[in-house]
Symmetry: C2
Subunit: 355 residues, 2 copies
C-alpha cells in the first residue's frame, strides 16, 4: 500500500494538499479582475509589481517541482508515505510564515493587521479549505479502483474548468466571453499537451470514475476559490498571519489523514522513514510553492494561479528536453500552441473588459 | 505506380486539383471581410443569404466527399488513375457551368456581364491557378520520397496558415488580432483532431520534406487566393462565365499532368479504366464541391473556405461514428473543441472589426 502511494505520487506529479492544484500555470501578469487586484492593500499600478513577482515565483517553483520529481525518479524510487510528507510541508510553511511575521513585527511593530491573535469570527472559516482537501485526498485513493493512472492524469484537467466555474459563482467575478473561450482553450491545450498513446483509456472510464473525478475537481476548485475568498475578505490583514492559520489547520487535518492512511507505516518504520536529500528538496519546494499560491490569491486570483501552473507544465517539459533529453511530441507542441494563444486571449479579454 | 496513386488518394483524402484544398471547413456564416462581402453584386444584408447557402453547401459536399472515400475503401480499392479522374471533374464542372449559363441567357438574355466571349485582358490571368495546382500536384509525387502518409496528412495543415498569410499579403485584407489567434487555433485544432499514434513521424521529416511541404502549402494557398482575386476583380461578372474559363484551363493543364504521369496507363488500359458507380459518385461530388468553392470565393472569401472545409472534416468524423462505427479519439474531441472555439472567436473578431 505504501509503495502504491509513492507510485501514485510519481504518476500524479504532485497529488497533495494545497499544493495539489499546482500542476498547471503563467508567466503572464494578466489579471481577470482589474478592479479587485488592488485587494493587496496598495492601489492601482503599485500592485502590478507584487502580482507579477508572485506569479513568476509560482510559475518557476511549480516547474522546478516537476523537475525534482523526474530527478527523484532517476535517483531511485522514494518510499516515504505521502501523508507524512504533506504534514512536513504544512509545518514548514507554518514556520516560514511565522519567521516572516516575526521580521514584520520587528520592522513595523505589532498592529491590528499583523497581530497573530485572532477572533472566532475571523478564524471559523479557516478550517474549510483544509477539510475540502482532506476529503479530496481521501477520494484519490478510491478513484484508482475505476481509473488508471494515464486516464487520471487527463481527468485532472477538469480542475481548470471547475476553478473557472466556481470562481464565477462563488466570488461573483465576471470573465469576458473571450476570457471564457481562453479558459476552455487552456483546458483543451493542457490536455492535448499531455496526450500519449495510453490517454484514450480515459474514454473507457466507467460512470463511477467520472463522478469521482468531477467531485474531486469540484472539491479542489472549491478549496482554491474559498481560500481566495478568505484571504481577500480582509485585504489589509497581513498575509503571513492568514497563511499561518491556514497552515495550522492544514497540519491538523493532515494528522487525520496520517491516522486513516499511514498509521501502520508510521508506527512500524517511524515518522521520518524513507527521507533523502531529494525528498527534503521536494518538501522545501512544495512549501515555497504553497506560500506562492497564497500570495497569488492575495495579489491576483485563482484564474492567474491556473494559468501560472499551466504555463509551468509547459516550461517543465521544455527544460526536461535539455536536462533529461526528453522528446517533445507533436501533441505537446500543438497543446503548447493552444495554451499560448489562450494566455494571449486572456489578456486581450481583460483589456476589452477594462474599456 | 498506378496503385500507389490510388493509395495516395486514399490516404490523402482528396489529393486533387482545385478540389484539393477542400479537406477542411465551416457551417458558420462568418465573413472576415464585411466590407468586401458585398462583392457578389447585391448589397449589405442581401449577401448574407447566398453566402450562407454556398458555405453550407461547401461544408456538406466536403463532408460527404470524405465519407464517399471511406465507402469506396470498404467497397474495395479503386484503381483508376487520379489524373484522368481530375480531368473528368474539370470537364463536368465546365459542362455544369455552361448549363447554368445557358439557363441564365434564357431568363435574362445575353448581357455584357454574362456573355461567354472574353478579352485577352480578362482571360490572361485565368491560367495561373491551373498552373499553380499542376506544379503542386506534380510535387506531390516526389514528397513521398521524404515524408510518409501519416506525416503528410499532418503537414497538409500548413495550408491553413499559408492561406491566411497569402490572403493578408496578396488581397491586402486585414484580419483582426483575435481572428489571427483564431486562425492559429484552427490549424492547431485540425492537426490535433487528426493525431494518431503514427503522427509523430512528422518530427522525423528531413529538411527536404519540410521545404517541399511548405512550397506545396504556398502553391495551394496562392492558387486559392489568386482565384479569389480573379473572381472578385469584376464583381458584376457572371460567376458561371468566370467558372467556365477557370475550368477550361483546368482541363488543359490537366492534360499535361496526364501526359507526364499516366500516359502509359491511359494508352494500355484506356481513358476510363477502373471506373465504378462509386467513382462516378465521387467525381460528381468533387465537381459540385469545386463549384461550391468558386461560389464561396465569389460571395465570401478564402478564410470562410478554410473554416468551411475544417468544420466539414469534423462533421465527417462524427457522421462516420454512426455510419462506420468509427471510434472518436480523445485527440479528436480536443481538436474539435479547439476548432469550435476558433469558429466562435473568428465571428467575435469580425464583430469587433465592424464596430
Amino acid at each position: 500500500m505504501e509503495h502504491r502511494r509513492a507510485k501514485d505520487q510519481e504518476s500524479d506529479g504532485i497529488s497533495q494538499k494545497d499544493v495539489e492544484s499546482l500542476d498547471r500555470m503563467s508567466l503572464s501578469d494578466t489579471s481577470a479582475t482589474p478592479g479587485l487586484s488592488t485587494a493587496g492593500g496598495s492601489k492601482g499600478k503599485n500592485t502590478w509589481k507584487p502580482k507579477s513577482i508572485v506569479t513568476l515565483a509560482l510559475t518557476l517553483l511549480t516547474s522546478s517541482q516537476a523537475i525534482l520529481i523526474v530527478w527523484s525518479k532517476r535517483a531511485g524510487k522514494y518510499e516515504y508515505s505521502v501523508t507524512t510528507a504533506i504534514f512536513r510541508v504544512e509545518a514548514l510553511k507554518c514556520l516560514l510564515s511565522f519567521v516572516a511575521l516575526y521580521r514584520t513585527w520587528n520592522s513595523q511593530g505589532v498592529t491590528e493587521d499583523n497581530r497573530l491573535t485572532t477572533s472566532f469570527d475571523e478564524i471559523r472559516v479557516y478550517p474549510i479549505p483544509a477539510i475540502l482537501y482532506l476529503v479530496k485526498n481521501l477520494l484519490q485513493y478510491y478513484i484508482f479502483a475505476y481509473v488508471d493512472a494515464p486516464a487520471y492524469q487527463i481527468l485532472k484537467n477538469l480542475n481548470i474548468i471547475s476553478t473557472g466555474v466556481l470562481y464565477r459563482i462563488i466570488l461573483k467575478k465576471k470573465l469576458s466571453e473571450i476570457q471564457w473561450a481562453a479558459f476552455i482553450l487552456l483546458c483543451a491545450g493542457c490536455t492535448t499537451a499531455q496526450l500519449n498513446p495510453l490517454s484514450d483509456h480515459v474514454l473507457q472510464t466507467p460512470i463511477q470514475g467520472w463522478m469521482m473525478a468531477i467531485v474531486m475537481a469540484l472539491l479542489s476548485g472549491f478549496a482554491g476559490v474559498y481560500t481566495e475568498a478568505i484571504i481577500k475578505k480582509r485585504p489589509s490583514r497581513n498575509i503571513y498571519v492568514q497563511n499561518f492559520w491556514l497552515y495550522i489547520f492544514g497540519m491538523l487535518f493532515n494528522l487525520v489523514a496520517i491516522f486513516l492512511q499511514d498509521f501502520g507505516a508510521v508506527i512500524n518504520k517511524g515518522f521520518f522513514h524513507g527521507y533523502s536529500f531529494i525528498t527534503v528538496l521536494m518538501i522545501l519546494n512544495h512549501a515555497l510553492s504553497g506560500i506562492a499560491v497564497s500570495m497569488v490569491m492575495k495579489y491576483a486570483d485563482n484564474i492567474v494561479k491556473v494559468y501560472s501552473t499551466s504555463v509551468a507544465m509547459l516550461l517543465t517539459a521544455i527544460v526536461s528536453v535539455f536536462l533529461f533529453s526528453f522528446h517533445i511530441s507533436l501533441a505537446f507542441f500543438l497543446g503548447s500552441t493552444v495554451v499560448s494563444v489562450s494566455v494571449y486571449l486572456h489578456s486581450v479579454g481583460k483589456l476589452q473588459q477594462q474599456k
